[in-house]
């Protein structure tokens, strides 16, 4: 079982602010993911990484950016938040040859 930690869990910020959602995992998983989930809707992949210095865009276009400087850390950044960015963001990870993706508890972002 993977341990994935997301901070902050809940955040309310004003339009135009820059925010970074942190995600860390302690299992040494090479693959990491960010999913976005609007209330009552399905999850959509917005970013993923196969390892250090690897980042790819997901299936859903997002104005956010990610970085992967360390294996255990996969932060997501919004340079200028807008109300349309209000959503839940879920971080996940898996082994390179693994077939199961493990999720963190999510970060709820509200932009006012």
């Amino acid at each position: 079982e993977a341990d994935i930690y997301q901070t902050p869990r809940y955040l309310v910020i004003g339009t135009g602010k820059k925010i970074t959602l942190e995600c860390s995992q302690t299992m040494g998983h090479d693959k990491m993911y960010w999913y976005q989930q609007d209330p009552g809707m399905e999850l959509h992949l917005i970013h993923y990484s196969y390892g250090v210095n690897s980042t790819e865009k997901g299936d859903l276009s997002s104005e956010s950016t990610v970085s992967r400087i360390r294996t255990e850390h996969f932060p997501l950044t919004l340079e200028s938040a807008r109300p349309s960015h209000t959503s839940q963001y879920l971080c996940a990870s898996s082994e390179v040859r693994g077939n199961t993706i493990y999720f963190g508890e999510g970060s709820w972002l509200t932009v006012v």
């Binding site: 399905e42 299936d59 077939n99 508890e105």
Partner: protein, 117 residues
Amino acid sequence: AQSVTQLDSQVPVFEEAPVELRCNYSSSVSVYLFWYVQYPNQGLQLLLKYLSGSTLVKGINGFEAEFNKSQTSFHLRKPSVHISDTAEYFCAVSDSELTGGGNKLTFGTGTQLKVEL
């Protein structure tokens, strides 16, 4: 491209009654199938998964699911539900390793299971 259809957005059921949550998928390649549960204000927890072998898969909390390739279905069942099973349930599919794909998940829209006394 893959897709997942969860036909029921909400399923109300009385405590101790059986329940089935439906999931159908479409894919042109070999797939893995998953059910995740999401409790209010929490992330996703893996309930069970089908990778290969026996088509009946048992998971945590007394849930099970059956993979039916001909009907492209992976329905989730529990013979007797409890109040604590109230949550959102997501079916998901990913490419299998045989196809060389990564294990990115495609999710269904979710089914809200509401267990009532």
